[in-house]
Each structure stands twice: as C-alpha cells, then as structure tokens.
Symmetry: C2
Subunit: 463 residues, 2 copies
C-alpha cells in the first residue's frame, strides 16, 4: 500500500497559489456574467451515455470517459459481442453513464428537460470541468474547466453585440489586450455559392487562412488539388487577397455577394453586430476597448455555427485563441425540441491563465494568503492571539495564529514562504503590557501596537 | 435520437435560483476559510483506483464509480476471470481510474505527492463534488459537494479551537443557530478500559445515544445481549445517566477516569479545546455564539478519529448533523508518509441548503437576478439601451436589455417571472427627450429619469 501515489495523466492538482490565480479568473468571468444578466447553472458531471453519444462525431464518442455500471456490470453483456471483443457494443452493455465532454450538450439537454420551468430567452453561464480521453500534451488536459455563456431562444443580434461587449469587459478587467475576430457562416456560404463550390467551405477558409504564410500561388495550387475548378479559383482570388479595414472588406464582399441572398444576410448581420459593438463601446468613457476585426478565414466549429463566428486572440503573446463562440441554430433539436436558436461564448480558462502568467498580469493580491500571522509563544500568549485573530476576522482581515509553539525562526520562515505580509508577536512582556509587536515582512519595519488598536483599527493597520 | 432526455439517478441539475443559493453557501464558507487562513486547493475528479481502493472499507470499494479504460479496455482481461465473472478482478483489469469518493483521501495523496513543495502545518480548504454509487434516497445523492477544511502536520489543540471558532463564524454568517457537540475518542477509550470492555467502544456509544429514547433498562439489556458482563454494565451506569453542564460531565468523568492515562489525556484535551473556544468567543462583542456541548454519545467516524470529535446540529429544525469532523492521526501513512496528524471539518452543503430553505433564511438578494431590465422597443431604442446598460455595469449594477423587440407584455412578464426589481423603458419619445421611464416592479412606482442620471447615478437609482 505504500506505493508512491500519483494522479492520472492529463489531470492536475491545484496548489493554493495556482488555485488563487484560477479563482481570480473564474471570479472575474462569473462577476462579469452576473453583471450582464447571465444566470449560473450547474449540470451533473455524469450524464447518461444516450445523452452524450453521437453528439461529438465518431472521434468524440471515443474520447468520452465511460463509467462502469455499478453492481454486476457483466449482467447485460452479450456472449457473441464478448467473443468478438466488439468494444463499442460491450461499452454500451457495461456502461450507462459517461463524464461530461463539454458544457453545450448538457446545456441543450438541460433546456429540453426544464423547458416548462425556464423562461426563454434564457441567458445562462456555467463554469464546470469537462473530461476528454485525449492524448495529453502541453496545454491539453483530460480534465479542464470550461466557462460558457449562452443565450437560447432569441434570434436577435443584440445578443451578439452583448457577447462582444462581454468579451471586451472580461478581458479589460483581466488587463489582457485582445483583438476580437468576427466572421459569419452565411458569408462563407455565400462565397462558396458565388464561386460555384458550395460544398467546399472548409477548403476555402483554410485557403484564406494560409495566404499570409504560403502566398497566393501555393494556396491556389492547393485549392486546385482539392478539386476546385479554374473558374472558381479565379473568382475566389479577390477574396483571398482581401485586406484593409473592416469597412473595405465589407464593401468588396457586398459587391461580390450581391446576388447571394444568404451571403447578403450574413453581411447585414455582420454590419449590425459590428456597428452595435462600436456604438456601445464608443459611448463608454473608459480606457481603450478591444478592436473587432473581420476575418473571413475564421472557421472555428464550422460544422456547428450557423451565423456569427467569434474568436479572441491576446495581442501581446502568441497563445492562439483564448475565447470563442458563435450562433448555432437548432441547439436542442437532437433532444426533440426543434427551432431553438442559441448564441454563446466559451472562455478558455487554461489559456487565459497562461497568458496572465506570461505577461505577469496577475494582481499581487491574487495569491489569497492571509494578511496577518500571529507568532505562537506558548499557551497563554496563543490564546490572546486567537482572540485578536478573531477580532481581525470580524473586520474582514484574514488572519491566523501559527498553531504550534515551536522555534520563532521556524514560524517566521513559514510566514515568509507563504508570503504573509504582516506578523504579530505577543510574548510574555507584550501580554502584560497589552501591546503587540507588528512586523511588516516586506519592509522589515517593526512597530508596537496596542491590543486595543488591533481590535479597533486592524483593517487600517494591516494593509 | 429524439428520446426525452434525463439525467442519471442520484444526480441533479441546478437551475439559476438554486445555483445562486448554493453559491451563497459556498461563498460564505469560502470567505470564512480564507479569513481564517485556510488556503484553497483542488484535486482531479478522477484518481487512480490504486489511490482510492481499500481506503473506505469493502463497502466503500463497491461504492466507487470506476472509469472504463479508454482504447481497448479488454486488453488486460484475464480469460479465467472473465469465464468466472470475477467482478472485482475484472474491474481491476478494465479500469485504472475512479471518481473521487471524498476529499480526505485525495488530500492525503496530495500532501504526500507535494510534500516537498508544501509547508507544514498546511491549512487547506477544498470545495468540490464527490461521487458515490449509493442507493439514492431523499437527501442522499450520487454526486454531491463536500466542503472540507483541514490542518495537517500540527498536533496543537489551537487547531481544534480554531475549527470550533470557524464553525461558529460560518453558521452565524448564515444565521443558523447551532449547537456544537464535542467528544474525544481518548475519553471513549478510557471509559471502555474502565469498564473492562476495551473493544466495545461502538456498543457503548450507541448505548449512550439511545438512553433518552428507550430508557436505562432497555439500554442495559441491549448491552448484555452484546456480551457486556454485569460488572461492566454496573460500572457504565453513571456514565449512561450522565447529565448536566459541561463542567458537571467533566468532573464526573475525571473521577471515573482517574486511573486511565488515555482517558485523562482525552479529558485534558477536551478542557483545553472547550476553554479556548469559550475564551475566544467571550472576547468578541458580537451577537450570541454557538454553544459547545459535551456529548459522550458522539461516535461519528469512530474508526477514523483518534482525538477530538465534533458535530454540529441546527437548533431550529430536525435535520441531523450539518457539519462534523475531528482529529485523525496518521492521515498519510497509507501513502508511505507516516506520523502526520490532521484535524478538520466537513460542511454538509446539501443539509445546510435544506436548513436555510426550511427556516427561510436565504437572503433576498441571494437570487442573483439582474437589478435592471431595459425593455426593447426596436432597433434604435435598443441600441441606446445597450449603451446605458454598459454604463450601469461599469458602475457594478447588473443589467440587461431584453434581446428581442417583442410585445411589451411579454417582456414585462419575463421581468416579473425572473424577479428583476427594475425595468427601464425607452420608446421613441424618451429617446428624443433623452429620458427613460423607470418602473420599480415591487412597488409599481414609475419615475422619469434622464439618461445622464442613469449613467452618473445608476448605483443609487437601482437599489
């Protein structure tokens, strides 16, 4: 039994300092969502496999963690399937439940299950872990948190404007400078239609995305290899080489898409969203806001999104996307409730953590260490310490007594290593004089403070 | 695919109102723990089965949820075990991981794994879900949160005093009147030794517990049935009928246990803990504190605790224990790190929720609904609404625009049902005059407020 213990690969322990920093991120998102009128929900970590299977493609089904039935898990096992080692069928027979893979499918299930208790439009946010049996690698974990904010049951583009404003709000709070990339699935469809290749949306967006790296000629060769006709390649050229301001991109596309009703709808949507966001941020007299940049190469979850597509990149570091989302129609159709549209965002908490670390943007007080530690000089002194500690806490000052009456050096080392800014010493003499020695561990400065002052002015002394 | 979706039995969805109330509880515990200098950690939901198995008894092993290995889970299956349907061995061969059953074993594993990065004494708290394949019933779930606060590596009784103070602090914050029951495993051992039945600790505590319900005679008969000799029964009588104040209980026990070193140690510990708690609470000039009551029938986790045993009961409702804990030596011995003592508490979040509901003690603002909803009168008006909404949020007022320009009645119904206290109406006329109509949904009162006032005095207007 005395094996050296470990944890499953792709999972993590969070020690106090990391935890405090994670809380800083989660609390910021949570507070922002609440200010924006999103309401928090939670769903079970374990869902029925019938809810999860078939929702993430064949690959996704394999990446679901399945939970073995309790009791006799062999009861329903079919002998032929066993002899054949038919893993999918055996899984089905031995497991009824699986771990949540994302927050979207459980949310759709939630909306359908509680349709009679919920009011539409329903604005919800949710911050919970998800699990994927992915191959672990740097920055990719088997257990990680997702932070999602969505509105279901409202087709209005004010939701998109609000989501962009939420992104701007959250990342300004976190002091991460960002650019918000904006696209629209309907515009991509219009483009594909215009060049006569309606089924090659993905190829087209991949091509647009590569233009900076490999140049027009190579991109066009790739497109030809993928079966795009010469006519299509020529028609796509002005879109591939599209640059300039949002306004310029929109005017070029307006001309190109003038005969595509879907493409036009997409452009109109984009103009409304962009204009709304710009009007709202311009009206606020705060520091500079995130810029929104139209990016027709943005293909994020293309099979999923039906309208607006959003992605956020941090400006001052190469970290890839730190948030993304979009509009998806028919969220709940798979659970027998068709016609419900949704639009939402997912904040990448782990990536945000990495950005804040890389740019050294965590606030100093994010460590959540106690403000004050009382040194323990023995039973009687410790008891007085406990009383003063209780008085400080009542005033909102986090405080602790070192529990053991051990060597002072050891106690000071502890305070130092924990990053506790103040220590209070009450020895026998101090106890008699009802005064304590207070030391600021950052400056080294020592002062004598009466017990009375600690009780009545603790919040001012320990700042 | 269009089956009506459900969730696994024993699991729950938390809708916004429940979630907000749960957050109120978790936030209170979290803030209290931080004020007390406990630091938050998180551990993975999935642990290696080698970490979990054998730690909760044979019954506990069965109640662990096991996670099927990903990929070819039949790879390591032994043919004989398969033919025999040897479920424990097959489980072992098909599953390497399981879901966390409590927070204590993962914490012990955490301490051992990170021993070189942690400073002892280590004060930690942890608020995370755990899973048990228990038969679901009222108040018992297969997925539920635990909230634990523990100190490891410190034998000092100041930790016990602090834990009692923490309980008092948390339940006063939550406005739940409580009694804290206190016992000590060493006293029970002393009693068992004194009556000559050192192995019958559990029988004795069960007997003490039943005395009020079934009377002395029946209790003594039960003890005889369990094999207690007449001599032991007679010797136990004064302890069974023990009543009165803590002081009286202690003096009777002091006499009885005068020849038991272990019993005496237990009594001394109890006196120190009790005296410390009383001194600390007496020194605070706050409202009345939780009373601590010595209860020798308290046997909570008897096989586990080695010193102090603590349990909290709510006074104004019959809900059983809402928190409990104690001292356990050798927390990490099972992971090859002997001699580390721990003492801690677990808050029963679900029980606390039920008590707050039963006694109607949730604060009104715990619902976390937005303060203000702007009615949507059409595109231009909505855009102005979004601007004002953004200004309010910047001032910390949670606000939303109803996203769709639908009938006003529908929008007002939404605000009503969501319990949003203020609505703001900006129609065409208001837009021209730069004034909004503000309605307090609770009083029905309507006022006209300039856009300028909403921007500059929003936090005062919407209270």
């Amino acid at each position: 039994m005395a094996n050296k213990p470990g944890i499953p690969k792709g999972t993590r322990d969070f020690k106090p300092e990391e935890m405090a920093r994670r809380n800083y991120i989660f609390d910021t998102i949570r507070e922002a969502c609440k200010l924006f009128g999103y309401r928090q929900i939670e769903t079970p970590s374990i869902e029925n496999l019938s809810t999860l299977m078939g929702k993430y493609g064949e690959e996704g089904d394999k990446l679901l963690f399945k939970v073995l039935n309790s009791g006799d898990f062999m009861k329903k096992v079919n002998e032929t399937d066993l002899a054949d080692r038919n893993l999918p069928r055996l899984t089905n027979q031995m497991c009824e439940k699986g771990l949540r893979y994302d927050l979207t499918v459980p949310f759709a299930r939630f909306v359908v299950m509680h349709r009679n208790e919920l009011q539409l439009p329903f604005k919800r946010f949710q911050i919970q872990p998800v699990w994927r049996a992915d191959r672990p690698q740097k920055g990719r974990y088997r257990e990680f948190y997702q932070c999602d904010a969505d509105v279901v049951g409202s087709p209005s583009l004010t939701n998109e404007i609000e989501l962009l404003t939420l992104l701007d709000f959250v990342f300004r709070k976190l002091r991460i400078r960002t650019v918000i990339k904006l696209n629209n699935r309907k515009i991509l469809s219009g483009i594909a239609e215009y060049i006569g290749a309606p089924d090659q949306l993905t190829d087209i967006t991949v091509a647009i995305d590569k233009i900076d790296k490999i140049g027009l000629e190579n991109v066009e060769n790739e497109l030809r290899e993928k079966g795009l006709g010469e006519d299509a390649v020529v028609k796509l050229r002005p879109i591939l080489t599209l640059s300039g301001s949002n306004q310029e991109k929109i005017s070029v596309l307006s001309e190109i898409l003038k005969d595509s009703p879907e493409g036009n709808t997409g452009l109109e949507e984009m103009k409304t969203v962009l204009g709304g966001y710009e009007a709202v941020t311009a009206s606020q007299n705060s520091e500079s806001h995130a810029e929104v940049e139209i990016d027709f190469s943005l293909a994020r979850g293309l099979n999923y999104y039906t309208g607006t597509i959003i992605e956020v990149k941090a400006l001052d570091t190469e970290m890839g996307s730190i948030s993304g989302g979009g509009r998806y129609d028919n969220l709940t159709g798979v659970f027998g409730m068709p016609g419900i549209t949704g639009v939402g965002l997912s904040f990448g908490a782990d990536r945000i953590y990495d950005v804040l670390s890389a740019l050294d943007l965590f606030p100093e007080n994010a460590a959540e260490t106690p403000r004050v530690m009382f040194v323990n000089f023995g039973e009687k002194e410790a008891l007085k310490g406990l009383e003063l500690v209780a008085a400080l806490r009542a005033e909102g000052v986090s405080a602790m007594l070192y529990p053991d009456s051990v060597k002072i050096g050891k106690q000071l080392n502890y305070a130092n290593a924990e990053g506790i800014p103040f220590i209070v010493m009450i020895g026998e003499q101090e106890l008699n004089e009802e005064k304590a020695t207070v030391k600021d561990m950052r400056s080294g400065e020592q002062t004598t403070v009466s017990f009375e002052s600690i009780i009545s002015k603790g919040a001012e002394i320990f700042v």
